[in-house]
Symmetry: none
Subunit: 205 residues, 4 copies
């Protein structure tokens, strides 16, 4: 995935500038949308000329690629840790949601891009991993919900598939309004969100 033109330097000497530019690019992509973002805008923000970006990256596409695959790689490391812990359904959902909001906290821009551009990009062969990830995603969440229903932890009268969609979307869309360092910590947001989804907003009678 790294640039093919790059000198074969060892990982010991990490190209500082590279990830710096990537972070800038992510921010701009998130703010303006991938298509609407010109390579020049990224370069401007990075303090260089458009052409100079091509020393570091193959193409605009490979920038988002790196941004998204980086984010998904990290996300799955956390998700897998949760899933491998074989907690109960409710606790699994809680952990997944919490990790999701933490990821939004760490990689807000990447998540926003993922949320907005996933569908377009998935059409390109190079981004097949987006679809793969979504499949795994669905399996994990849907499976947990179903397990919860089977174990009488979640209500049986709900359409599991529908519930999955609601939950999935709400978590990720949060990336569009979340601002790191704001009033709420990711854990606090997760708690509030879980409270709503698990127990409802209505007062119990």
């Amino acid at each position: 995935m790294p640039n093919k033109n790059k000198p074969p330097a060892a990982a010991a000497a990490p190209p500082e500038r590279r990830s710096e530019i990537l972070a800038i690019a992510a921010e701009v992509f998130a703010a303006q949308g991938y298509n609407a973002t010109t390579v020049r805008r990224i370069a401007d923000a990075a303090g260089m000329l458009a052409g100079s970006l091509y020393y570091h990256f193959d193409s605009k596409e490979s920038m988002v690629d790196e941004i998204l695959s980086g984010f998904l790689g990290e996300l799955w490391a956390r998700y897998d840790a949760v899933l491998d812990a074989r907690l109960g359904p409710r606790e699994t959902i809680e952990a997944l949601v919490t990790e999701s909001f933490r990821e939004i906290d760490r990689h807000r821009a990447a998540v926003a891009i993922y949320q907005k551009e996933s569908r377009h990009l998935a059409a390109l062969p190079r981004f097949r991993y987006l679809t793969d990830s979504q499949t795994r995603f669905e399996r994990a969440w849907l499976g947990t919900l179903e397990r919860g229903v089977a174990e009488h932890v979640f209500r049986a009268d709900l359409d599991v598939r529908l519930t999955y969609r609601f939950v999935r979307d709400t978590v990720w869309v949060a990336a569009s309004w979340y601002r790191p360092g704001g009033l709420h910590s990711p854990e606090e947001i997760a708690r509030q969100y879980l409270s709503m989804v698990l127990d409802g907003i209505a007062v119990r009678t």
Copy 2:
């Protein structure tokens, strides 16, 4: 004469072809994103040449404009009817959510566009009504939630603003997966969704 200075929303005798094209355009915009959609793609889908679109519309921009303002106009007619009925907080939320899903059913494409492109477009003066609408939107939902808390219908331990965001997003994001004529009627989806949000997915103990 059909072009230039035509009121974007209404017309005494709506030229058949116009709304036909608009529906097609909405579909393509929703599927590919506004920026990524070329005028030629719309024309192709409408069975005409790109240039011919400009007999009916001033610009690509004015097409989305008409799509979005049409959708918002209709939406607010329904919302206002609900709000004017002065129901209780829970019933108001139920009615708003139901109307929202109905609107998704009727104007899926428009809602999807609204969801995805709102932020970019709102930067243009011509689309200021998007921001205005969002403000009214927030006032209506937030107000109802707050009233519910005051009247002990909704839980007091939830952050109302956060809850508003969760609810708002989830409803509209549904436009990205909803397919009219699918398994669930909008009313059924609303019921499921309300059940989750109001009472939670966890089994009561």
Copy 3:
């Protein structure tokens, strides 16, 4: 030169509308320039749709053609009358200038178009008569000036060719500011102009 699609009506029944439209077109061409004038603008001014113009005329080009050839036809009728009268050089110049300003008074728009678009249009085969006219033009004026020098009516120390150019341009450029029905009659303008060119603006010492 008339439209080939026109019903073969006799000249006895002159198509009123035709010359009406032509006058409007001339006005717009003069104001905006031939290239910058769209066929729709002419149609607007004539109270019809762009397509409808093509019932009366073959093309935008044939409109200017008719405007210019009509103007030049009339102009040469007058010029020829003057030249055939075989006046003295000074009187000939006076008469030509006077007729020119009269023509500007009658066909201001056509003259302005001639002045501005002549060069472009002359490149097209159909407008060769523009070049022909200019040649005849030069012959008439230059000849008169030379005759005047030979007969000691005009100063011998002036470059005749240069003088011709100055005189020619000044007369026609007047079309760009002249407004029929203004303060000065064409004859008055001609008198002022001739006074300047023939006797100079300096006080004689």
Copy 4:
């Protein structure tokens, strides 16, 4: 960086290529008219592709802008020098005319463009300076002529306003036929022209 927000007239270190292209563009604009000149034609003449022009310039419009404002800037520097010298009316007219023909000699293309396109372009806000310049222009010439009449240097029986128009037009229209390096130097043309305007072409009796 050469693009966007660059002062249209001056630059400390004028990029070679830029003014080269500008000179070519001026030539083409003058020959074919601004509207009729395609950006591709300019690019062809400059030996590049149409799109490449946009590295140097914002738009076709900003090219004429730079051409015209450059020309007017230089012209006014000369005119101001003349006016500040506070010569007599006749000498002032002589100096202004001479400077004008010199300017035509230096910037023939720009003058021709100014002459032909001034009116259209002045409608655009960006070209308001054209109107401003024309106002100053009128003030300078008209004022000098009036002073001349008051001082009995110019004939009192001439309409000053009309004379101003004749003189103004004739000088500038010369740009449409003048060829630098031709038979006559600008000074020679000015002398001939002044001789005609000041003393007339008729032999004194």
